[in-house]
Structure formats: C-alpha cells, structure tokens
C-alpha cells in the first residue's frame, strides 16, 4: 500500500489561500489505514479549515475498501457530488498523489469540471506490515529480484540498493552504516539463503539493473474487473468469516 502522512496545516492553508468554498475528498484505501483520508480525518480537516475561514461545502467520504485512485468505484461518489464540485473554489484531496491525479483526470476529462485541486498528503512509497508500524518493502522497479535474494529486496532494504552487496559498511552488530537502527539487508539475505540451502545464489553475480523498465510514467492495460461480481465475492467471504 501507499504509505503517507498529512502535510502541515500551514502548507495546506497556503495552497487554499484566496479560495473559500472547499470540497474535501478522502480515500477508503491506504489513506484510511494511515488516518490521512478516513472519515474522521476528513472531519478533523473540515474543523481546522473552518476555523481558518473556509466553508466546507462537501465531505466526500469513501467507505473502507473504496480506493479513490480506482475510478470505477470512486467515480460513483464524484457523480453524486457533481453540484458541490461545480460550486467549489478548490478541491482538497486527502489521499496519495495517485488518488489526487486519478480524480483530477476524471473531473477534467469525464465530468468537465476543471478546478484547482490540491493534495493534503505526502506519499512515502510502497510500505507493508502494520497495523501500527510499516516499512518500505518494494520499489516498484519493474524488474523484481526477490527470487534471487531470498525474498528480501536489496533495492529497498539496503540503503545503497546494491545488487551484489553488502558494502563494507556492515557494523559488527549486523547493522547498516547509514542507519544503526537498521539491519544490514545483505546480511539478512546471506543468512536466509544459508538457512534455505541456497548460498550458491549469494556467490552469483547479479547483472546491472534494467532501469528502462522503470521509465516514467509506466502504463498498464488489463481486462477490467467485473466489479459487481467482486463485491459479491467480498460479501460472501465476509459472511462466511462471520463478519
């Protein structure tokens, strides 16, 4: 998921300077997990902005599981708020940059609503684990090396992103020269390869990374989901789990 934190209120107010009628939109995906776009965060933001003279004309709260970056779902909520969006001086997106841009693109191109749109959050990249603590696990490099590195990504776990590590900076207690709180990723890879009997992979030379696969912006095309079928599937699963 996309890790994120909220920008300082002063920075948000700077963007909204001279704009009174504001629409707030959250996200039921990653931003809910990081409390940066859930209904409670939207209410807190509305209160803070109101105190600073802003009129909140709509709060678009997406339920858990509805990602604002996934337009087949989030666009339903945009359509429900068409009039508010048309009346707004600005839209404040409480999501990551993906969400902000997906919504901006939909408003511009599908709804013909061209408005100033701002992101309230700073995205910090792909992170995993939780529920409280998260760590960056994947770079999204487009050329995954995990099969060769015991399931530990050296590009994100090693500060230098070395393919043939470690460097000379492994401390005597197995930490990283860059951050003494962090384990040396390549020591972790070495030990795990040893445990699973694949140490020969450590001795192999991993060839230079093909960064052409990370040329931006990357685009993907897939067969669209049958959304209703997926929602039914989710409902049945939750029921069978007694939720």
């Amino acid at each position: 998921m996309m890790g994120q934190t909220q920008k300082p209120l002063e920075e948000i107010l700077k963007y909204l300077n001279g704009r009174r009628k504001i629409v707030l939109m959250g996200c039921g995906g990653c931003a809910t997990i990081f409390h940066t776009g859930d209904p409670e965060a939207i209410d807190r933001m509305a209160e803070a902005l109101s105190k600073n003279g802003k009129e909140i004309i709509a709060k678009i709260k997406l339920p858990f599981g509805v990602f604002c970056c996934y337009l087949p779902m989030s666009s339903q909520f945009l359509k429900m708020h068409q009039k508010d969006l048309e009346a707004a001086d600005a839209i404040l997106m409480m999501s990551c940059g993906d969400g902000t841009q997906a919504v901006r693109s939909y408003l511009d191109n599908e709804m013909g609503i061209v408005k100033p749109i701002f992101s309230a959050n700073n995205a910090l990249g792909f992170v995993g684990e939780g529920p409280a603590n998260f760590i960056e696990k994947c770079l999204g490099c487009g050329d995954c090396v995990l099969p060769e590195t015991a399931g530990i990504c050296p590009l994100t776990q090693c500060a230098k992103g070395l393919l043939n590590g470690p460097c000379g900076g492994t401390t005597p207690d197995g930490k990283c020269e860059v951050d003494p709180e962090k384990d040396c990723a390549w020591l972790q890879i070495f030990r795990r390869l040893e445990k699973i009997g694949e140490l020969d992979k450590f001795a192999e030379i991993r060839t230079p990374k093909d960064w052409s696969k990370a040329t931006r912006p990357r685009r993907l095309s897939v067969e669209p989901l049958d959304l209703m079928a997926k929602l039914k599937e989710l409902k049945n699963t939750l029921v069978s789990m007694g939720v």
Binding site: A159, N164, G165, C167, G168, G169, T170, F202, A203, P208
Partner: protein, 310 residues
C-alpha cells in the same frame, strides 16, 4: 605463445612474487594538486604504486583521474585510481574507465563507496547504479572484450588492471569471503584490504579464504600507522571491523603529554615502528602478497617500515 597480460608495474611485481608495498594519496577539496604531488614525491622508491582516492568518505574532492594523471606526469609515481559507484552511473563510470586509459592510468580500484550521508553534502542524491562487483565486471569487459554491458563495441579499449577491496576484520567473515570470491569471479585482479592492526585478524582471514577453496589473486593487507591518538581512536570507533589494540592506543594517548612537538612526533614514529615492524614480520609469514600502507600525510614512516622486508 600467449602474451602475458601485464599492463602496470604493480601487476608486474605482484606476478613476479615480490612483496609489494602500495601507498595512498588523498587529493583535497581544493583547486590545486601541489600537496598531493609533494606527498607522491616522498613516496617515490618506497612504494610500487599509490592509490588516489575518489571523494573519500563522501567528501567532494578533486577528481581522482585528474589527480592521478597529474601525479603520474609530475612524479612518475604509478597510480591506482579509485573509482566509487556512489556518485556515477554506468555511463559516467564507463567514461571514466576510457578516460583512465587515455590518461595513462594502469590500475583502478573498484569500490562501492561510503554512503553520501557520511560526507559533507549529506543531502545529495546517491547513485549506486553499479556496485563494486559490477564495476569490476564492467572494467574487465571493456579491457578484455572491448564491450560494454550491452555488448556495444568499444574501439581501442584501454589496457589497465582492476582491483577490489575486502575487510579481513569483518564480524561476518563467511559472508565477506563469499563476497570476495564473487568479486574474483567478476574479474578482480588484486585485493587491497581495509586496515588491519591485529595479526590474528590476518590469520583468521587467510584461514577462511583457505576454507572456501582459496583466492587466486594477490591480496595486499592494509595498515594504518596513526599520526596521533585521535586518528587511531577514529578508526577504532568509526570504521567497521577495525579493532585498534589497546596497548597501541594507550601509548599514543600518552604522547599527548609531550609538550615539545618534535619530541612528540619522534615518540609517535617510534610507537609505529615498534608496532608495525612486528606486524609486518608476521605478515611476511602469511599468504599476503604485500601491504597497502594508508599513511596519508605521514610518508616518512614508510622507509622505516620497509626495512623489515628489505
């Protein structure tokens, strides 16, 4: 008859089985090179070749290729040009390797490089497109095959050797030696190690090398005669895997009490000669091919130490 693949004096002496000394030069953060050239002059005849550092500890300094070229031109001292992967991608590193050939540089030490946050510009974007293993591989492909990683042809490829670093004092010696074997597989032709103070560290390292089937390229063990207690303390506390012996540190610490600058220096020289004479005698009994003396700003100590293996 197969032509012997020797391009430098360093490699010639190593192949001839001589016990080789190398030194170290550290060009500064300045638009001049006189100090480095002066230091190189003092090392002439004392070492076979000198490393020229590349942005050491991530402090931006004079380009190592330019400095090495000037040193070779002005003094005749053969250089081992350090190239680190922290600051340049594979295009820039390839350019440097070709430039090294043009500038008459015959040896490169391929290193990954300290992380940029350790230096004087911690907010810089680090590169690490390659690591020391891949830089080694790339250099051998350029020199031996006249090709880059993509197979693009390089006309008139440079003739030079590539060396790598290793850390005998690593707490994780298994991994260190595996890594070194990987560098040898990539084409490394010689090794210069991190600083070692304890003879038992050298022994433990060579025992591990033997355990994994040996390493068939020359290994020069790094030493660091400290000019002051502060320098020794820095290595002990800040450099991974380097243990400076307590008695050596204690003797250097005592010199802080000597008020007369000349007398203090004499005593420090004496401490280093006593300590490293014993160390070098031991080194001669190991498979080490030589000794890399990192006595930056302390060239006068080298002739004394060399007497041991004269």
């Amino acid at each position: 008859m197969v032509e012997e693949r020797i391009f430098s004096n360093l490699m010639r002496e190593l192949k001839a089985g001589k016990f080789v000394f190398t030194g170290e030069l550290e060009p500064g953060k300045e638009g001049s090179i006189e100090t480095t050239i002066e230091a190189a002059r003092k090392l002439l005849g004392q070492v076979t070749a000198c490393n020229v550092t590349d942005n050491p500890q991530s402090f931006g300094c004079v380009n190592s290729l330019a400095a090495a070229f000037m040193v070779q031109k002005e003094t005749g001292m053969e250089c081992i040009c350090q190239l680190r992967c922290s600051d340049k991608n594979r295009l820039a590193l390839l350019s440097d390797v070709l430039a090294a050939g043009l500038l008459g540089i015959k040896n490169i030490l391929a290193i990954t490089g300290d992380y940029v946050s350790l230096g004087d510009t911690p907010d810089v974007k680090p590169v690490y497109d390659l690591d020391s293993t891949l830089l080694t591989r790339m250099i051998r492909m350029i020199v031996d095959e006249g090709k880059d990683f993509r197979g693009n042809e390089i006309r008139n490829p440079p003739k030079l050797h590539v060396g790598v670093a290793a850390n005998p004092g690593s707490e994780f010696l298994d991994m260190e030696v595996y890594k070194l074997k990987r560098k040898v597989k990539a084409g490394a032709e010689f090794v210069q190690t991190q600083v070692v103070f304890l003879p038992e560290v050298v022994d433990r390292f060579f025992a591990k090398v033997k355990e994994v089937g040996g390493i068939d390229i020359p290994i020069l063990i790094g030493i660091f005669p400290a000019k002051s207690y502060a320098e020794a303390k820095f290595f002990h506390e800040q450099v991974s895997g380097v243990i400076v012996p307590e008695d050596y540190m204690a003797k250097l610490k005592e010199t802080k009490e000597i008020k007369d600058k000349e007398k203090r220096k004499e005593r420090i020289d004496q401490i280093n000669i006593e300590y490293f004479t014993g160390f070098l005698e031991h080194l001669k009994s190991t498979p080490a091919a030589g000794c890399h003396i990192m006595a930056v700003g302390y060239p006068e100590i080298i002739p004394e130490l060399r007497k041991v293996v004269a």
